[in-house]
Structures are given as C-alpha cells and as structure tokens.
C-alpha cells in the first residue's frame, strides 16, 4: 500500500461519518468532496477502520464480496479493477426470510454466485488452479447492495471506503460442485412478480466468476489476510443491478445453481397500524 495522503484523524472522521449515515439513514455527500484526492489505498484504510470496529463489537466476518466486476460498471466509474468488502454474520438472510427494510440503505439487488472455500488460499503466489481446488461448493445468491453515500453518487474511493457498498445477502441452500457448472455461460434471470427485471450470464463477471475469486484471493494474500477454509465469497453481479422497494419479492435463478428468493419487509411506516394512533 502507498503511504496515506491524509492523517489518521481525517480517515477516522470519514469512517465515523459512514457509520453515522448507516445508523441514522441520513446519507452523506461523497467522501471525495471532503477528502479531495482520496485514493484507493486510503479508501481501503477507511473501510478497515469500520470493519475492525465491527469485529471488536463481536461480529464475525464470514467472507468477502467482490464488486465492480462488470465492464459496464467499471467504465461508468472509470476504473479497470474490481473492489472488495467484508461480509459479516448479521448481513446474511435465509431464502424467503423477510429482510428488515430498516437495515438497508438505498438498496439494490444483484444476482451472483456464492462460493464457499474448503481450504485456505494462503500460498504466496496463487493461480486459477489453486482457486478451483479450494472451492468446496457454490450457491446462488442475491446480494442486496447499499450505499451510505446520498443518491449512490459514488466513485471508486467512495464505494471502497463504504465497504464496497455492501448491505445484506441471501443464499440458496443446495450446494453445487464446480464440476457440474458452466460458470461462464450460465444464464441468470431475476424476476419480480413474474417479470424478468434483470438478465445476464456468468461471463459478465470479469469474464468468469472464478476470475473474480482469483483476483480477491491474490489481493487478500498480499494484504496478509488470506482467504480461509469456510469463507464465503460473493462473486460480483452476473447482470444489471435493480432497485427494490419495501414488500418486493425477488427471485434469482442461475442456470445450474437453482434459485434463491429475497423477501423485503415493509418499511416501518407501512407496518404501523393506523388504528393504534387513534387509541
């Protein structure tokens, strides 16, 4: 990592503003406005501050998500690399389990492949074969991304600092082996009320979702925080992301992997029983 352009208190302040935005749902202006020239390494330092705090508070890190894996999104943000964020135990929801709206921040959904590792990826110089050997099984996944930056007005440093715009995730429950999958040409469709709202294919994720996993594994090995057996890795989207609203039910199907369903709770205001106010 390069040396920081900012002193520690400036990065800590940025981390704090992101935390407050998450707690209050008062989303903030892009960090690049208050920290002009904020670079990728400093953005990861901000991310790390908040993730370390979560660990200190007793949350468990269950894996990582990979973001910015589509050429379209990379072009939009003017970058040529993906990014990553940490996944924690309380971000995971079961298929069909209502995801509380209050936990989400300007949510959008993406269909992805989830990989679970069966062994550590801690070799110094990793290759694709190491990744293939290390993956225990794959599951279909819906990632519910979110942004603490108002209106998703993000550039790469904003999203990296914001834990790669992570929010929550829902996994399917039938593990599949790599040998049974065509990860490059697997079709993807997300449906809402029976209508396809996003379609895609495995190739949309860095040419093959395993390319994304290899990128992450190398990156984490460099950072001396290698991926470990049991870790969950969300590959990055197989197609365009879609906005969701309270009460939505989204089903994602990935060819060969089956389907997974994300159910969104009503917003708190919608849940209030109007009769209660008259009593």
């Amino acid at each position: 990592m390069s040396r920081s352009s900012f002193d520690g208190s400036a990065l800590e302040q940025a981390a704090q503003r992101l935390r407050q935005a998450a707690d209050s749902h008062h989303y903030i202006e892009p960090l690049r406005d208050s920290l002009p020239g904020l670079g990728i390494d400093d953005a990861y330092r901000i991310q790390r501050l908040n993730n370390d705090l979560r660990l200190q508070q007793g949350q468990r890190r269950v894996g990582h998500k990979i973001g910015l894996t589509s050429r379209v999104v990379q072009t939009q943000l003017g970058v040529d690399q993906p990014d990553f964020g940490a996944l924690f135990d309380d971000m995971g929801f079961g298929p069909g389990e209502p995801v509380p709206w209050a936990r989400l921040h300007q949510p959008k959904v993406e269909a992805e492949v989830a990989f679970v590792l069966g062994r550590d990826l801690d070799e110094a110089r990793l290759g694709l074969v190491d990744v293939i050997n290390a993956i225990d099984y794959a599951l279909p996944a819906i990632e519910i991304v979110g942004s603490r930056i108002d209106q998703w007005n993000i550039r790469i440093a904003d999203t990296i600092a914001d834990n790669a715009s992570s929010g929550a995730f829902v996994l399917g429950t039938t593990p599949r082996r790599l040998a049974d999958l065509d990860l490059e040409l697997c079709g993807m469709v997300m449906e809402r009320r029976g209508e396809p709202v996003s379609v895609g294919v495995g190739r949309a994720c860095l040419g093959n979702p395993l390319n994304a996993v290899l990128w992450l594994a190398r990156r984490m090995a460099q950072l001396e925080q290698p991926l470990r057996a049991g870790d969950l890795v969300l590959s990055g989207a197989l197609g365009p992301m879609v906005e969701v609203a309270p009460g939505d039910v989204i089903e994602a199907r990935v060819s060969g992997l089956g389907s997974v369903r994300a159910v969104f709770d009503q917003a708190p205001d919608d849940n209030a029983n109007p009769q209660e106010n008259t009593q």
């Binding site: 040409l185 697997c186 449906e191 396809p196 379609v199 060819s255």
Partner: protein, 255 residues
C-alpha cells in the same frame, strides 16, 4: 387498397435497393391490420421474384422493448429464403441500409403449429432448437419508426443465421447468451429475456400465425426474438453468439 399496394411496393423497393425511405405513418395512425396487409403484399413481391417462405420472426418479445414502443403484444414478420445466411458464411453489407445484429434462439418445426397453444404444446411441435443471429435493417431513415411503420416493414427482417440444431428437450428457460464481435463481448443476456421463457415466444408465434390465416407448416423456422439490444454491424468483423448448452453460431461481415 391502391395506397396499401403503393406502400408495399415502396418498402420492397427500399429493401431490394438498400436505400432508406421516409416513414409511411410517423404518427402511428394506420390500423395494425393494414400494416400487416402491407407487410404481406411487400413480402409477396419477394416471393414473386423466386424467394421461398421459410418461417416467421417474433419481435418485441421483451417487456422492456414493449414498454419502449408503448405496446403490450409481440409483433411478427415473415422470413424468406433470400434472408438466410449460412452459419460461418459471409454477409454482403451492400444488401443492407444500416444493419444491426441481435442474439436469438431459432426453432424448427416437425409438425404444423397454429392457434392458441400452451408452451408445452408448442414444444411438442418442435423438431430442434438452435442458437441464431438475426440481422435487422429498418428500411426507414435513421432506423426510426412507429409501430405500424415497423410492422409494414416486415418487422425490420433482413437476414438470419441459424447454428447447429440441438435437441429441444432441454431446459430452455435460462440459457446464458453472449454475443461477441471479433471475440470481444458485446451483449450479455439470457433466454429468459424472451417473454420469460422462449417457449412463450413460440406459443405467441402459433397464435399470430393463426390470426394471419397462415398456419406454420412442418419445417418452418421460428426466430423467437432478441435476448438483448441490437448492435450495429461494421465491415470486416466476425460476429459470434454462444448459447449455454446449445453451442455457437457466427458469420463474417464483408469488408
């Protein structure tokens, strides 16, 4: 009727000479039945020149496209032998005005098909399915048209390429599709974009064929509609579509 004949002639001549023409109904006032009659007469001129009818193509098979065009149903056009380009062959660009290409699936029938049928009944009439590329080329200036314009213009049909035929008794609901130019991905999608399932597009073809009084015979090809946006063709490129489990189809564009 002379107006309908006149428009049919002008559309056919625009296609034959590869020269764009003005829209015939920019405000979309022409009844759609008249637009389909123009299409029928225009294609009849091709048949009179010796081309054979080989099937139909479906258009507006994605909800996004229907919303964009302000319609709630598919449109369709007629395919003729003169539009067929060999898999692996070369496309002569001089035949077109401003051609675009889109990734599709094609069905070939083993039994006649028409009327209101379920997707399962439609499948029972299918001999095989294949990855396919459709070359669309509006005869209107700037590729701009109203709904009646595009129907009269044979739903922009101008060319199609069908890949190797495969057993249709495979799950067609969500096949990944990648269209590339010279090996570089252009459009990425899934067969789920076709009305949610390609067999729904086939069932729609059966319905419109009956409505037109032209039931689809055994051997007819049905192009089931585009799975993604269309891309402009450029001289000299190689166009390829890969479809999960079904394989690939491609063609070269002449310089």
């Amino acid at each position: 009727m002379t107006r309908i004949d006149d428009i049919a002639t002008r559309l056919d001549e625009a296609a034959f000479s590869a020269r764009a023409m003005a829209q015939i109904d920019p405000d979309g006032k022409l009844p759609l039945a008249d637009a389909y009659e123009i299409q029928r007469r225009s294609v009849a001129r091709r048949l009179a020149r010796g081309e054979r009818p080989v099937g139909i193509k479906m258009g507006f098979t994605s909800r996004a496209k229907m919303i964009q065009m302000g319609v709630d149903d598919v449109i369709w056009g007629r395919l003729t032998s003169g539009m067929q380009v060999d898999d692996g062959g070369t496309l002569d660009l001089s035949r077109f005005i401003h051609p675009r290409v889109e990734p599709e699936l094609a069905f070939v029938l083993k039994r006649p098909l028409s009327g209101h049928v379920s997707p399962a009944q439609a499948l029972a009439a299918v001999e095989a399915v294949a990855p396919a590329l459709e070359i669309i080329d509006s005869r209107y200036q700037d590729f701009k048209f109203s709904l009646s314009d595009v129907i009269a213009d044979n739903a922009s049909s101008s060319g199609f390429v069908v890949g190797p035929w495969a057993d249709p008794r495979t799950d067609l609901a969500n096949l990944g599709m990648v269209m590339s130019f010279d090996g570089v991905d252009q459009e990425l999608g899934s067969s789920a974009a076709l009305l949610g399932h390609p067999l729904r597009a086939l069932a729609a073809a059966a319905r419109v064929a009956e409505e037109a009084g032209e039931p689809l015979p055994a051997g007819a090809i049905v192009m089931a509609g585009a799975a993604t946006s269309a891309q402009w063709l450029r001289p000299g490129i190689h166009v390829q579509l890969e479809v999960e489990r079904l394989g690939r189809v491609g063609f070269h564009v002449g310089a």
